[in-house]
């Protein structure tokens, strides 16, 4: 019943990364939906079930499968939901916001207790006393409320704070505390996040200022760089 599950993602990524023949996959431009034990084949393009996917057009296939899963299959539901929403707020008014801002508008700026987050953080490749970690928490405590919210969106994919605090932070396999991993690469490189593991890949830095600059860049521009998607 999961809308978007990581296994599904992994399968699609495998299709993109490998030669179809090597992994022995026989795909057509169709997908199968399961519902109460019955399965049904759905064409992704006209007559898709009879058109084989080749390495050349597999990107198109992956895109279509995602589109089906996230939009086409729930088109009517989305439309009804939007009709209701637009009854109250006209599209022209709401469209001035970005997706991130819309989430903050609906759910508000969360109260983020950095001390609680720090208490529930795991480290890999770093020790608590390392200068990068000391800098990192200095920076976190100094952030504005909205920057903290954006950081949470960056690392966990949503600005939602767990009801019982960060000891209860959920990942894709149950409870998954926030983790800071030491990233390889040159000092001062950009940081990245894995939202389903609630983890941050933090490279080494030369100074606290540099780290702060990179962190702010990541949470602001990083989200923006996916705008084309």
């Amino acid at each position: 019943m999961q809308a978007i599950d990581p296994d599904y993602y992994k399968n699609l990524k495998m299709i993109l990364d490998h030669n179809l023949e090597d992994i022995g996959l026989d795909l057509t431009f169709s997908t199968i939906t399961h519902w109460f034990g019955r399965s049904q084949t759905v064409d992704l393009i006209p007559n898709g079930r009879n058109i084989p996917v080749t390495d050349k057009d597999k990107e198109k296939y992956v895109n279509l499968v995602c589109q089906h899963r996230m939009t086409t299959a729930i088109q009517k539901q989305i439309q009804a939901y939007l009709d209701g929403f637009y009854d109250l707020i006209k599209p022209a008014l709401i469209s001035i916001f970005t997706p991130k801002e819309l989430e903050l508008l609906i759910s508000g700026m969360p109260e983020i207790d950095i001390a609680d987050l720090k208490k529930n953080t795991e480290y890999q490749g770093y020790r608590v006393a390392d200068k990068e970690i000391v800098w990192f928490w200095n920076i976190m405590f100094s952030l504005s409320k909205s920057d903290k919210a954006e950081f949470l969106q960056f690392v966990t994919g949503s600005s939602k704070v767990p009801l019982n605090g960060f000891s209860d932070l959920q990942g894709m396999r149950g409870t998954q505390k926030f983790a800071i991993h030491k990233a390889s690469g040159p000092a001062g490189a950009l940081m990245s996040a894995h939202t389903c593991f609630n983890s941050l890949d933090l490279p080494t830095h030369n100074s606290e200022e540099e780290m702060k600059e990179k962190l702010l860049y990541a949470i602001k521009e990083g989200a923006g760089s996916f705008q084309f998607s």
Partner: protein, 392 residues
Amino acid sequence: MRAIAQVAGESSVDAEDSAVKSMSGAINGAPSSAVTLSTNTTELKLLRVMQTLHSLCADPSRDHSKKQDEIPSASPELVDLLQGIDLEPLWEQLNACLSIVLVLEGVTKLTEEDEKLNGDDDDDDDDGGKPKEGKKLQNSVAGLLTRFLPTIEAFFVVNACHLDATDEEARNANNVEALVGGETLMAFIATNKVLLNALLRSSPSLLDKGLRAMVQIPRCTVFLDFDVKRFWFKQQMRKLRSQASRRHGSLRLTIRRAYVFDDAYRQLSLRHADELRGRLHVTFANEEGVDAGGLSREFFGILAKEMFNPNYALFTSTEDGCTFQPNQHSTINPDHLDYFRFVGRIVGKAVADGFLLDAHFTRSLYKHMLGLKVSNHWYSLKSDIFIRHFMN
């Protein structure tokens, strides 16, 4: 009608010409800062002339039916007139002035102060840029900007209007290409976004007036700060709410505690969209209490949980249980689309009235709500799951 407009238009060009001449004279006199010499009145005059030109050259058949909050369109003769006048030097000068302001703004944190008095003083001194800078440091950024406001507004009047020749579709999409000075406008906004945001923070009503292009052209809104947008949005919502309250009265709901979701569904679904905008009064059945906001908040709090109740099969969550999107198999309930419409109305009502919902949706659903095309679904899935990967 058109003939009158043309005659009047031409006669006002003369007035405008003189305004421009005195302005460009001022520009030539002190290249470092146009504003030193040109007084507020000439700038205001220019703005007035531009606005008058616009209303005179407007196509009468079109404009009467249109709402005031639309971007005006420019008829071919107006475009010709504007090209004849050649305002480019003025815009360049404006940009130069604003870049000085930008430098100043970076130099020091400025505090609120009455800018008008200083502004008038400055009109008299014609020493050029440098002494002025020292003086202006005392002023607030917004105050400084008010000085340039007439010219900025004139800039928007001239550049942020539709070309008459463009087709309806481009017009509706508010494409930059459909504007008279589209690229000039975009470049101006991009360069001066810090200043424009500061200006809008101190006088938010500009977004309903001279600078309304900022919220109407999609490519402009990205340059606005969240707090500026949210303030404007809340004001629009307040206006709509009081309009609806006048017309339809308040939105009164009586809810039984044990059946909050069902009662709300039944009572909201019956109503017309316009009625929903009125002020909300929630009463819980058999309970005393006047809704001064607290009961509404409680009401939305319960609904935000209930709509994700798996028994309704309306939404499915991502694996971490944090974000939701509509359930493909909601069809198990034959009325599911009515329920989705209801949930959409609840979310809309909460946003319109400023109540927060502990409800988080998938990024792709937010995009649908904003009317953004999800063009690459693979990337969208990635950003929902493995969000924001750098340099991989």
